[in-house]
Amino acid sequence: MVRQKSRYLLCELNVSDRSRLLLLDDRAVREAVRATVARIHGDYGAALCSLRFSVKYLNAHTGIVFLRCPKNCYRLIWSALPFITSVENQGQKVPCFLNCLHVGGTIRTCQKFLIRYNTQQLHRMLPQCKSEEEKLQVRKAILNCSLIKRNEGGFEDEAESGEDDEE
């Protein structure tokens, strides 16, 4: 059997209140997406998209989510994303919305895009720094980022702490 192809949707989870973002975990996001796909596309859509659907990566600090879906129905899931209004975790509803930044065939291409996107965001936000001290702080924080030798996701930490320290 030849390779089963999937599509990875790189989405950004926007919440109005950043502190509540930390409550979310991948199970909550998965349930929210599944319920929305069932509401928008019915029994047919729910069954078709649940085959290889999973949340591969969720960063609670930056709100980046990787969703994995089968190649033949990624458009159904993509079209259901704008209808997600809130994610529920342990009885607490967090109002949020998901917008899709990138669709890739593998996790590696999505992560390459994420690094480029984060550097672009950094270049956009840096001129908005109010004082010289802030700029120095940001520069030091970025220079302090180092690749931690781990199995996977070494550069995730770099991207994450770079984004984090701009706030």
Partner: protein, 129 residues
């Protein structure tokens, strides 16, 4: 073979291939209910079909545009029109529609055609004297 004097244009030959003969498909359906006395008006029938579409295909399916062109309330027979792209969705939701107001029901699809004129005659109902 005759001698050709001067330029002669080859006979023009144009072939038109249509993947889809008509933009709409027409279905003749009959609603069979458990009790023989229940009657539905046209609006109720359309509401029933929309509810079937929404349970199988969700909000997007319920928004599928289709029309009830003719409806015979006594015979519970009607003609539906749908775009050709939506035929599969409509037909499959008619198939899987099982109940109307806690009463078992079934949609029998009698004829399907891309042309409305074809629904006027039916060789099954033909009576030979």
């Amino acid at each position: 073979m005759r001698a050709v004097g001067g330029e002669q244009e080859p006979a023009a030959f144009e072939r038109t291939v249509l993947r889809n003969a008509s933009p709409y498909h027409y279905l003749k359906v009959y609603l069979q209910l458990e009790s023989a006395t229940t009657r539905l008006c046209a609006v109720e029938l359309k509401q029933l079909i929309v509810s079937g579409l929404s349970s199988l295909f969700g909000e997007v399916g319920a928004a599928l545009p289709f029309d009830l062109l003719k409806y015979d309330e006594e015979a519970l027979t009607g003609i539906l029109r749908v775009h050709s792209r939506g035929l599969v969705k409509l037909w499959s939701s008619l198939t899987l529609l099982g109940s109307y107001q806690n009463e078992a029901c079934a949609f029998r699809v009698l004829q399907v055609s891309p042309f409305l004129l074809a629904l006027s005659g039916n060789s099954r109902d033909l009576q030979l004297d």
